[in-house]
């Protein structure tokens, strides 16, 4: 139990690094993960990686890395393409949060499948769910991290965030 809640805490910390981190979060991450950068540097890297509104930025959102829908009756030209918001994964998680009574922060409302939310949900499943639930969730919603990491490398995002994504990938790996 203690081990599960520790693992969940690590997931929450990683989630915090992926959406509007504050200095305390960055400091905690430096300590927890032994990151070799100053917390202030993480804040700067966060802005450059995820916020910069005029440049290409990394969007850690599942929909963008999967075909928009697998429903055969959708006739939009984007139906089978990757790269679009609001795909099946977003629609599914939106329904799931509603069913579980989970409230999403306003800034993430349009991306229910943002990695920060998915890590948080995995943490909740660690604390309250069953191994089967986690296995289902991992296989259906956390199988896109290698693509995200490849995109981060392609965009040449600051090293600290490439490292954070690697930590995320490890944290979501199947349980032994």
């Amino acid at each position: 139990m203690r081990k599960a809640s520790q693992a969940a805490e690590r997931l929450y910390l990683l989630a915090n690094l992926l959406y509007e981190p504050d200095l305390a979060t960055c400091q905690a991450a430096v300590t927890e993960f032994g990151l070799a950068v100053a917390p202030e540097e993480i804040l700067r890297a966060y802005w450059q990686t995820f916020v910069n509104p005029v440049g290409p930025r990394l969007r850690p959102v599942e929909s963008l890395f999967k075909p928009w829908t697998t429903f055969a009756d959708c006739q939009l030209p984007l139906a089978r393409q990757k790269g679009w918001l609001g795909g099946d994964s977003a629609a599914h998680l939106r329904s799931l949060y509603a069913a579980l009574g989970l409230e999403v922060p306003p800034g993430l409302a349009h991306t229910p499948d943002h990695l920060a939310l998915e890590l948080t949900l995995l943490g909740l499943l660690l604390e309250h769910g069953t191994p089967e639930m986690r296995a289902t969730f991992r296989s259906q919603h956390l199988d896109w991290l290698p693509d995200l990491q490849a995109r981060a490398a392609e965009l040449d995002v600051p090293a600290v965030y490439q490292q954070v994504l690697e930590l995320c990938a490890r944290a979501v790996a199947p349980e032994e």
């Binding site: 509104p53 005029v54 609001g86 579980l100 009574g101 920060a116 909740l124």
Partner: protein
Amino acid sequence: MSSITRRRFLKTGLTTAALLAAAPVLDMRTWAASQEQARVEVVPTLCNGCSSHCGMLAHVKNGRLWKITGHPDHGRSQGKLCARAHGAAFWLYDPDRLAGPLKREGDHFVPIDWEQALDEIAAKLEAVLAAHGPGAVFFAHNPRATGAFYGTRFMHALGAPTTMTHNASCNTSLILAYQAVFGTTPGADLANSKYIMLIGRNPAEGIQTGYSAALARAIEKGAKLVVVDPRHNASAAIATEWVPIRPGTDLALLLAMMNVMIAENLYDAGFVAEHTVGFEELAAAVREYSPAWAAPITDIPATTIARLARELAAARPNCVVDPGWKGGFGANYANGTETARAVGAINALLGNLNKPGGLTFYGAPKLGKLPADKAPDPPKPTLPRGDGAGIAGEFPLAPTAQGLPHVAARKAREGKLRAGIVRHHNPVRNFPDPEHMMAGMRALDLLVVIDTHMTETARLAHYVLPEPSFLEREEVVEAIPGRKGTVCMRTRVVPKLLENTRTFDEIIVALARRMGVGEYFNFTLDELNSARLQPLGITLEELKARGSIQVETPVVEGMPKLKTPSGKVEFVSERFAKAGFNAVPGWIPPRVMPEPARPNSFRLIHGKQGYHSHTSTANIPYLLQITRDHNAERLWMNAGRAAALGIKDGDLVWVRSSLASRQVRVKVTERLHPEAVYIPSGYGNFSPGLTRANGFGLSMNDLVPFQTEPMSGHAMMMEVVVEVEPAGA
């Protein structure tokens, strides 16, 4: 593990019991099975793939867009949509969309909340008004009902006289010219025409679905289609005859055809006598413009010119010289306005006004207004405009409903304009000379851009305010002219995906309240729309449910009532004469010409492709892929000229003008006049916020200098000579 309390993004009192209860939904397969069953709803709205705003039916399942089709009851779409509409649907789910308001800090943007952004904008606008007066403030937009109503009303409430549109890069010439000749801009009844002459217009690529369909119908019915264009465009591909004219000389062709019609008594003398003024002056003016005179100017044999004139006249009145749009003469040459006046005049000689297959003068359904006692209009500003349009000594004839954004940029550089609001409009990319346009925007004390994407203009703003996409917002009721008019509106077809966006009317009302002019906005959008519909006996609920409704408009059979000073067709314009221009159309040469002695000297012309709307759609991968698949961004060059320069198909070349040098690959073709090179107009985005279009292709605007046509003030976008030379591999 640090004991620090971290934010939990999913606020919860989650328990294992709750999780177990929800376990089936946790599995995506179970969820998918439940979704499958849902009904597909059909929600009517308006397309935004271009400014035509065709009627669209959005098919929506589980709150997600599932498919789009054309609305059968909209006069433009008539049940059809073009490729761009299917591309525009991508905008809804586009990760490039602006997700929240932004404020400039130094050379970058930071997120800001709405209330603070609006407070700051209002305060800065107040400061500009206090220091420089309302003459220093402008609003610029792509003119459709919502912007025209809320934007103009807001400017009037502030006493600001300068509202501008994109038209000075599009069709200002026509608007001015047809105002002079007919008192309004006519349409054309292509479907019933026996003989159609398109001068520079290209409905097969400059698509308005209904108009393109009408051309196809005319051809099916056996109409003769003559395409006068330096380029063998997609309309020429279905034409009876392509007349490859020297670019910039359409006016000479028209003057010479009128010469023939008058000299050979082929014109409609009855119509001319009864419904026109100034015929004698026109006849005297065109006497010198014989086909033999026009032949060396236009590069069209005199016999062809005379034949075309005779053929047209033989088909009268069921024939038309298309009134055009941008192509040929809308905003392209020094003689653009004069050319459009000549198009007006030749149609009048053919006596085709309101005749089947001729020019049309349809009205639009007459919309109502808010009750004056409850929502009085602000007074019209009395100050002179800030962009020179309608101003003596500047551009006295320039249509003030459109204005001159490129001149406004100069005025901003001179410190005369100080603050602007720009909505759904990208003058920095879509007017010539980006350095000039950017310098103008940068010189402003306040630039607010309201858009869905980080355009080239938005990049320079002090505040960027995001609107929901067109599929997530409701707008002001529109009325479309036609034999049967259409009343229609944009409705919200899916819930807002990006919560932190606000519609234009919400933004304007919020600013107006902060600036003490809220009294002019004391109504809701629903109340406004209900008032607009009131005279038509249609309720807002009904229109929201149906989206587009056809209504009978009073159709004048026979001669339309014209709003010219004389009430007749005016071959001669006192207004033009007073402003120092020709009273009747006469020859005006293009401003620049390629140098015949230089083998690498060309005129750079441009035009639309059927799958892009200027530079607003290049960021849609579905449409951009069409370009990539066909190498369609290339510069067209005549095969003979290319051979002489040693340039082969696909070669990279330098294109240099007095303004800039750019590289592009060449398409070698027989389908272009030898003196021109042609570039499609939909590329050359340079905003990194448009992640897919950024850096793709070339825009003619990079090479065209800032300049103004003397009559209407338009941007003369084809008055540019370039030198082309191989750039190596």
